[in-house]
């Protein structure tokens, strides 16, 4: 049976993740409506999207006609009512339970009964997000990885009230979109962040405990395990302030001591050492020196 999803809406499409999800949907042949509160953000994302497909054409990965067809399937709006045409709406808005619940509540009044809602949350409960609307049976977790337009993985999670048939429809859509879904329970962090966030905290605590320098820790991880990046390099890339937000999302729910914000992390963020974006984190990006925490 063909997938009933033809038109996809993306909420928060002015952001990096939302824009990437819109690319995934449009590239796979779905009519895609990008929604955000800010037309400026949508315009910026549209420019980046054109640049992304422009490079694909330059590199011979697709023809100009294909690019034009994809871009032709994409539209953008700041009017949520335009999402009434969607069979699937994927939200990638700010990682805040109340904001996501409110969004689904509004979508509930706009979209037809058959529309499936998917949340790109990486840390929050799908069941709790779904409780913001009256169609909890049609809400699924659909967590893309950054950058969504390049990463195949999607963590798919049913909420407590998700209809298995709806979950299957959403699952089939991810396959049709050329992605690789994996199924996880609706638990904090699903698989990826449940493993990664405490692991990165452990690396911070090892620095604080004087086990080794950040460079030696990263070297050990990369050489010993064949990882492409060490945990402290990765933390500098994602932002130390972001790691605190992840800890604050995890720890109150799990009470796992490994998920609690390490004291060194708090001190570094308070000192303005946020990682690459501030020029200094566990490493110094303004010179060749290294900051050891």
């Amino acid at each position: 049976m063909s997938n009933p999803i033809k038109t996809v809406g993306v909420c928060g499409a002015g952001g990096t993740m939302g824009a990437g999800i819109a690319i995934v949907a449009a590239r796979a042949g779905f009519r895609t409506i990008s929604f955000d509160m800010s037309m400026d953000a949508l315009d910026r994302a549209a420019g980046q999207t054109e640049g992304f497909f422009g490079k694909s054409v330059e590199r011979g990965k697709m023809g100009a006609e294909d690019r034009d067809a994809i871009l032709g399937r994409m539209s953008r709006t700041t009017d949520m009512a335009d999402l009434a045409e969607c069979d699937l709406v994927i939200e990638a808005v700010f990682e805040d339970l109340k904001i996501k619940q409110d969004l689904l509540g509004k979508l509930d009044t706009i979209c037809p009964e058959h529309t499936i809602f998917a949340s790109n949350t990486s840390t929050l409960s799908i069941t709790e997000i779904a409780s913001g609307c009256s169609r909890q049976d049609r809400v699924v977790g659909m967590h893309f990885c950054l950058p969504a337009q390049l990463m195949k993985l999607i963590e798919m999670s049913p909420g407590v009230n998700t209809d298995p048939a709806i979950f299957q429809t959403a699952w089939d859509w991810t396959l049709a979109a050329g992605q690789q879904p994996v199924e996880t329970q609706d638990k904090p962090g699903f698989i990826l962040n449940a493993l990664l966030v405490p692991f990165n905290n452990d690396a911070i605590r090892a620095v604080e405990a004087g086990v080794a320098s950040p460079a030696d820790i990263d070297k050990a991880i990369k050489t010993g395990l064949n990882y492409k990046m060490g945990p402290l390099e990765l933390l500098d890339l994602i932002g130390l302030d972001t790691q605190i937000l992840l800890c604050e999302a995890f720890y109150p729910v799990t009470l796992d001591p490994r998920a609690a914000t390490p004291p060194l992390l708090k001190r570094m963020v308070a000192a303005g050492h946020l990682g690459r974006k501030s020029g200094r984190g566990f490493y110094d990006y303004q010179g060749s020196g290294m900051f050891g925490g």
Binding site: V182, F190, L195, P198, A209, G210, K219, Y227, P257, R258
Partner: protein, 210 residues
């Protein structure tokens, strides 16, 4: 800096198994002595004496002195995932008062042989076991709790994090009993739940019969 090394060995080494090319490069009377299963004997005339470690602290071999310990003796271990072939990583274990010249000499020997060296202090699990064992414990617990299948957890780590392999396949390949040994040693020192051997590792160890 060029450094020669002498190997004194008793029994099989986990860092340098029989046939490892590094074993062929030793020479008597060299700058650095490498002890593979041999008991430590002080020799201040050497640039460094390197003691191969298992899960124990270097202090077990050298004795400790209220944080003032440190000499020309270092510990080391070449990281292995259980029964897998050894990696290219040497964890070099120092003490608070270890001279930099001793570390430089040890580094020169190992890097001269093509290894990557990461220096760490004498703490349980060194760098890698301290960091990866709690994560592997979590993955084993997630498996028991039904968070996801082993295959999906491994696939998530490969596709989502770019790892060469996932935690479950890595543990299965290297041997869960080895994971038990590593976590038991960490738990004995730290006593926190994160390091306590996971149920599946305990089962593997019990089935191994030792």
């Amino acid at each position: 800096m060029n450094m020669t090394y002498e190997i004194r060995q008793s029994g099989e080494s986990r860092s340098f198994p029989t046939g490892d090319a590094f074993l062929d490069g030793g020479e008597a009377g060299a700058d650095v002595v490498i002890l593979l299963g041999k008991e430590l004997q002080a020799d201040p005339s050497r640039a460094a004496i390197l003691v191969e470690l298992g899960h124990e602290s270097l202090g077990v071999h050298t004795g400790e002195d209220a944080g003032r310990e440190g000499s020309n003796v270092l510990g080391f271990a070449r990281f292995r995932n259980g029964d897998d072939a050894p990696s290219n990583l040497i964890e070099l274990v120092r003490q608070p008062a270890t001279p930099d010249s001793t570390i430089d000499a040890a580094r020169a020997v190992f890097e001269g042989a093509g290894f990557e060296v990461a220096v760490c202090t004498d703490q349980a699990g060194r760098i890698l076991d301290r960091l990866i064992r709690p994560k592997y414990n979590a993955a084993l617990r997630f498996l028991d709790e039904g968070l996801a299948t082993a295959e999906d957890m491994d696939l998530t780590c490969r596709l989502g994090l770019g790892y060469a392999d996932g935690p479950i396949e890595r543990l299965e390949r290297g041997g869960l009993a080895h994971h038990y040994d590593a976590t038991k040693a960490l738990f004995d020192v730290n006593g926190t739940a994160a390091y306590a051997p996971a149920r599946r590792a305990l089962v593997a160890k019990q089935r191994q019969g030792d």
